[in-house]
Symmetry: C2
Subunit: 429 residues, 2 copies
């Protein structure tokens, strides 16, 4: 990394003129006064801003035209990290840690405060020393993406890697992942790897590891404890239960949503308690049934991305649905209102989709509760038009399951059967 | 209503053959045994089912080909309702009740169990006699629609009626409304009638009034008490707080979601307590600021429906966004992931939308919490591409506000200013 990585044009000139480099601690006078460390930049096509990591741990972009003064407070020196060779402890279980990116899988360059997504076993061990007392950790970097950029092709790559370890001596697999779309990935893995005999826990962090309030280490420790002791299989998401550092929740990977943009306890099991709670060294098991319906591991990892999620709202233009049909989508998941409704102005296009053999499933934008399409005429009309009620499947899970189902068969009746059959705890009682 | 209303073809023949009419109590043997009352039908194009109102109060559609036996238990007789003339009590405040449809605004025909959406003051008074002790109720039927069929044109009709009463002697206005899209309607009224000097409460019910567990009467009583005593203005939603019959919540109409498909306490204020709680005769005020930013009532009721809500998910096809642009939409509200992100594969089309002067606003599918697009590079890239972060505005509210904003101006900068200015408590602190 150079002392100006990512800066060019006006912003580069601004830094040079003021004799400021990446990693310098500065005080900046603009609309208010900011103190922090100048960060490298990775964005495209912008030379109007510089990026500052505040003491709170957050990065902010400051428009250089609005900066009236910038003062260097100190030039930080690089702290040389010590890498120690780790010896395996034969008495401890082995855990595989796969990294896909996100804050959790990141390492801090102490000179710049920059978070770089490279994680090795040694670095992990030195940053979270408690792990070495729980398990022998092997790590593998799959790719490094913010989770908003994780696409179905990345899901495939994860599944292809994980499926190779079904007969390994690992007690569990941790997948470090950005939090934004972690629940979509956990859903895909739940379906594609149904019956996988080793427990899998996806772990993220809501706050970067250089913040005092970071949840990264505790989430990782919690997940690792869980995997070594849970004695069940399934795909889970392990994150803080709330703002305290006492409890880690392990959520069923097909029953969980990110329900808050920034809180550490952002992930919640919809309509139920989490499957497991890890409180210090205690594991509380709330899992009511086997995670997978099958105990035969026969991976089916194919996906068809031609699936649309349609969230209905008053004024939704039925022509948008027509465009979805015309674009060759194989399945449509409606996020309807209440018990599973959409306006009657949608009926002609819904009829058209049904006639074309497109699978249509109904979920509710209420998030919690069950669709029931037999209660009102609207629902019964939609049943007649071929829409399949998906019980209490979460919309985000339904769209992933439909991508996976249409990846495995093109037959609409088979897709319907797959969508309604419980495979990986995606329906709850 | 005839003894076969809505039945024809096979289902009509089935009823006639078995000497069963609408309103008869029957026992039906199919996959399981059902007991209930035969209901009239209002659906289109289906002669395969008959509709039964179960003792639980729910209607079910039963496929006649699967019925092995139907037995008449009794032919109910019509109970003649008594209409009493209501005299105004000069000491009580006056309340206007507007009815738009939905279960709350319905009246039961005791012969058939059919819910018909006709409501007069006399009928209301005889079904909820407590109301006459709280206020003099005038009623007006605007239309009768399931709320999934309420469109922006219906919002206009409500606003046009309500705005005529700004100088009336009513202490408040109750709007009876189906629950499915009640929060969309309350948002529209909040913006279009900003500064309206009389409090408005939308009221619905989750269970039809012939169920023992119906919430209709208590919600109506709670809303009426609230309007006569609250001494504030604004647009609220009054519904059960939970499964108990003790507490009615009054939610700010722009900060509320229907979060459960069937529970009586389905409505929740996002990220906060409800603005008011009505516990028996006590009103607890939790309203932190004035509901409206302005106290000048200058109605602006125009709407432009060319606004799209785009919920992002991994695999979302950017071409769908291109179709939205090509269809002439004036604004796009993204329901992004986490702090307000969408995948980088969307950038080229987002850039195109920006160049066409389409307003783009960012909300989060997390529902709770605030978008913050300065934290990560993805967010900063999207800011550069012209997407406007909408703080903690709820996606459903943002799409309604954008319809209203684009109805009032075509200038993208003005739309942006309107979207970011707090008008009716749509942002919370």
């Amino acid at each position: 990394m150079s002392e100006y990585t990512g800066y060019d044009g006006n912003s580069l000139e601004f830094l040079k003129t003021n004799k400021i480099s990446i990693g310098d601690s500065v005080k900046i006078l603009a609309d208010i006064t900011y103190s922090g460390i100048i960060m490298p930049r990775y964005e495209h096509n912008d030379d109007k801003h510089i990026v500052l990591k505040l003491k709170s741990g957050y990065n902010v972009g400051l428009e250089i035209s609005k900066i009236t003064e910038i003062k260097k407070e100190s030039s930080s020196e690089k702290i040389i990290e010590q890498n120690k060779e780790i010896l395996k402890n034969e008495k401890l279980p082995n855990i595989l840690l796969l990294s896909t990116g996100g804050t959790i899988a990141s390492k801090i360059d102490y000179r710049t405060g920059a978070v770089t997504p490279v994680l090795t076993a040694e670095e992990l061990n030195s940053s979270v020393p408690e792990l070495a007392k729980i398990a022998n950790m092997d790590t593998k970097v799959l790719f490094s993406e913010y989770s908003e950029n994780i696409m179905p092709e990345h899901w495939l790559k994860i599944a292809e890697t994980v499926k190779e370890y079904s007969n390994s001596d690992y007690s569990g697999i941790v997948i470090a992942h950005g939090t934004d779309t972690m629940h979509y990935t956990s859903s895909y893995l739940s379906f594609s790897l149904a019956g996988f005999p080793i427990p899998i826990a996806l772990v993220g962090s809501q706050r970067s590891s250089d913040r005092a309030s970071s949840d990264a280490a505790l989430n990782l420790i919690g997940a690792t404890k869980f995997l070594t002791e849970c004695k069940v299989n399934g795909v889970y998401i392990s994150m803080h239960q709330d703002e305290n550092d006492e409890t880690i929740s392990c959520h069923i990977g097909t029953r969980v949503r990110k329900n808050h943009t920034s809180k550490r306890g952002a992930f919640q099991t919809v309509g139920d308690d989490p499957a497991f709670l890890i409180v210090n060294d205690q594991i509380h098991n709330n899992l009511k049934t086997e995670f997978f319906t099958t105990d035969q591991f026969e991976p089916k990892i194919e996906i068809n991305e031609k699936v649309a999620l349609v969230k209905y709202y008053p004024g939704y233009d039925p022509d948008m649905l027509k465009n979805i049909i015309d674009a060759g989508h194989k399945a449509i998941i409606f996020e309807g209102t209440g018990l599973g409704h959409i306006g009657k102005n949608m009926y002609p296009i819904v009829k058209m989709a049904n006639e074309k053999g497109i699978f249509m499933g109904m979920t509710s934008q209420c998030v919690d509760g069950r669709v029931r399409m037999t209660v009102y005429e609207s629902g019964r009309d939609l049943l007649d038009l071929g829409i399949v009620p998906l019980e209490n499947m979460i919309p985000e899970v339904a769209v992933v399951k439909a991508m996976w189902a249409t990846g495995n068969t093109e037959n609409c009746e088979e897709i319907k059967e797959i969508m309604l059959n419980k495979i990986a705890s995606e329906f709850s009682t």
